[in-house]
């Protein structure tokens, strides 16, 4: 895909391309010697993450929702929706995410891939079922993962628990997941969720719940975007035959529009957020054509959902009674 003229100009305007940049670098060169001649020791910044107001309390699921939406949709905010629909939806998301505890389940076409409970800063991630639409699992062969304090407990496929003192000890597979879960504890992504939907409409229902519907217009996913680092986007990338990084791959484009649905309960808290889209068609033999299970069938409707439950119920998340400690 050719780079747009605007981005080309932006890249050309990189300060590194300016004639005086090399001169500036040379002036920095002596810093190395000066710095290394000073005594090492405490100084500078603490690596402790900055404390931020916790607007969204927990969110691999929400992250999933955003990731899904980011992959399948455009990022156009607005449309012709009444502003009140956005405001109300935002309020519901904010109220939900402010809950100190709860459970969320990520499902694809009614198959629950995992459930995640949180209580304060404690998180329990539990493996669900496998789906032919998704390869692999964020937990790998393991059954559960608990984040308690700085420690991580992992329940292996044989049911036994292993305790790791920190995320750094967990290993290359689970370590990033732990970091992502911790990072998601602090993020405020309600705006991001809403930003992907246009034409958001709010419909009160007879049972007292409120239905929000919106469209996510079809768009090429920017091939420059790196979608391989996040578990859900990685799943989607696989679902799409890794076509997201290849503008020529038919999997890189979804037909028409995808739909966002959100249900808010009488209590003003979100019950479910869903993204629905159709698997695109592609010609046999085309590189990067989606090819996994039902996803190979053009027109298959795929729905990813995040469902919330037990919000504010203060469910305990405790360390297992017995575990084997592993130290690095």
């Amino acid at each position: 895909m050719p780079t747009s003229p605007s981005l080309k100009e932006l890249r050309d305007a990189n300060p590194r391309n300016r004639p005086d940049f090399d001169e500036f670098l040379e002036s920095c060169e002596e810093l190395s010697t000066q710095i290394a001649s000073t005594p090492p020791g405490p100084g500078g910044w603490s690596r402790r993450p900055a404390h931020r107001r916790r607007l969204i309390s927990l969110s691999a699921g929400l992250t999933a929702a955003v990731a899904i939406a980011a992959v399948v949709g455009s990022l156009t905010l607005g449309g012709a929706s009444p502003p009140s629909a956005y405001a109300a939806a935002h309020e519901a998301l904010a109220a939900t995410s402010a809950q100190p505890s709860g459970t969320m389940a990520l499902t694809v076409n009614n198959t629950t891939l995992y459930t995640m409970g949180w209580n304060g800063k404690r998180i329990a991630l539990k493996k669900g079922q496998s789906s032919p639409l998704v390869l692999g699992h964020v937990l790998g062969p393991n059954l559960q993962m608990l984040l308690i304090g700085r420690g991580v407990y992992v329940q292996g496929p044989d049911g036994t628990w292993t305790h790791y003192a920190s995320a750094a000890d967990v290993g290359d597979k689970l370590g990033p997941e732990v970091e992502a879960l911790h990072a998601n504890m602090n993020g405020n992504i309600a705006d991001e969720i809403l930003s992907v939907a246009s034409d958001l409409h709010k419909t009160p229902r007879a049972d007292g719940t409120t239905l929000y519907t919106g469209t996510i217009r079809n768009a090429h996913v920017d091939p420059v975007m790196n979608l391989s680092q996040d578990d859900v986007t990685q799943m989607l990338a696989k679902l799409r035959g890794e076509g997201v990084g290849d503008p020529n791959a038919p999997g890189g484009q979804y037909p028409d529009t995808s739909k966002l649905t959100m249900i808010v309960g009488r209590d003003g808290l979100v019950q479910r957020i869903s993204f629905t889209f159709q698997q695109p068609s592609c010609q046999p033999g085309v590189p990067n054509c989606p090819r996994y299970g039902p996803a190979t069938d053009p027109g298959t409707t795929i729905t990813w959902s995040v469902e919330y439950s037990h919000l504010g119920e203060n469910q305990p998340i405790t360390a297992p009674a017995t575990s084997t400690s592993v130290s690095s």
Binding site: S6, D12, P42, G44, W45, V66, A70, A183
Partner: protein
């Protein structure tokens, strides 16, 4: 700390410095407002890295760590320099205007960037100028990677719209002329061309 430990430490720091000084310098340059600030910022970033070398991640993860540190350093600089900001802005505006006379397209880029919000602009430039990936930017700005991707996508769209809106009326070929300009070197994603110390 033994002499051998110290030597090992210096060796690691030297390698870290050589690999990342260009990136950190570039980042500090567009984050800072003056040439004296940018050099101070680079020095401060690497001084922190030196003093906290045990905490600096190894491998590719060192880069976002350094950028995150540079982000804090430059933010602190901005706060402490608040009294001088107005004067600096005037000087910078003058300097930029002079540069724009050489290349009006740079001015157009600058104007399009100015229409973006601070966060959008930061994410866009970390990608396009510094070559950072979304997960790396997430470390730098302290946001989830998916949020960064979202913001990046939106920032690109907004930048493109702002940039294209500046094409002079009646100059319908302007965009194609821009596209036809020969490419210039862009920032490498992983490496620098900083000369070795002995060179």
């Amino acid at each position: 700390m033994t002499d051998a430990d110290m030597e090992c430490r210096r060796h690691r720091f030297d390698a870290l410095f050589r690999e990342h000084v260009a990136g950190v310098a570039s980042y500090c340059r567009w984050r800072s407002g003056s040439s004296s600030d940018e050099q101070d910022a680079v020095g401060e970033v690497f001084l922190i890295a030196w003093r906290r070398l045990d905490e600096v991640p190894k491998g590719d993860e060192a880069r976002p760590w350094l950028y995150a540190t540079a982000r804090r350093v430059t933010a602190n600089q901005a706060r402490s320099n608040a009294r001088r900001t107005r004067l600096r802005e005037r000087l910078r505006a003058h300097a930029t205007a002079a540069a724009d006379e050489d290349d009006p397209l740079v001015g157009r880029v600058r104007e399009a960037l100015a229409t973006l919000g601070t966060r959008d602009r930061e994410v866009l430039l970390l990608t396009e100028w510094e070559g950072l990936t979304a997960p790396e930017i997430a470390v730098v700005v302290g946001r989830p990677a998916v949020a960064v991707r979202s913001r990046l996508h939106r920032a690109r769209k907004r930048f493109r719209a702002a940039f294209e809106s500046q094409v002079p009326a009646g100059d319908s070929d302007a965009m194609s002329r821009l596209a036809a300009r020969p490419p210039m070197a862009t920032a490498p994603a992983r490496s620098t061309t900083f000369p070795s110390q002995g060179a």
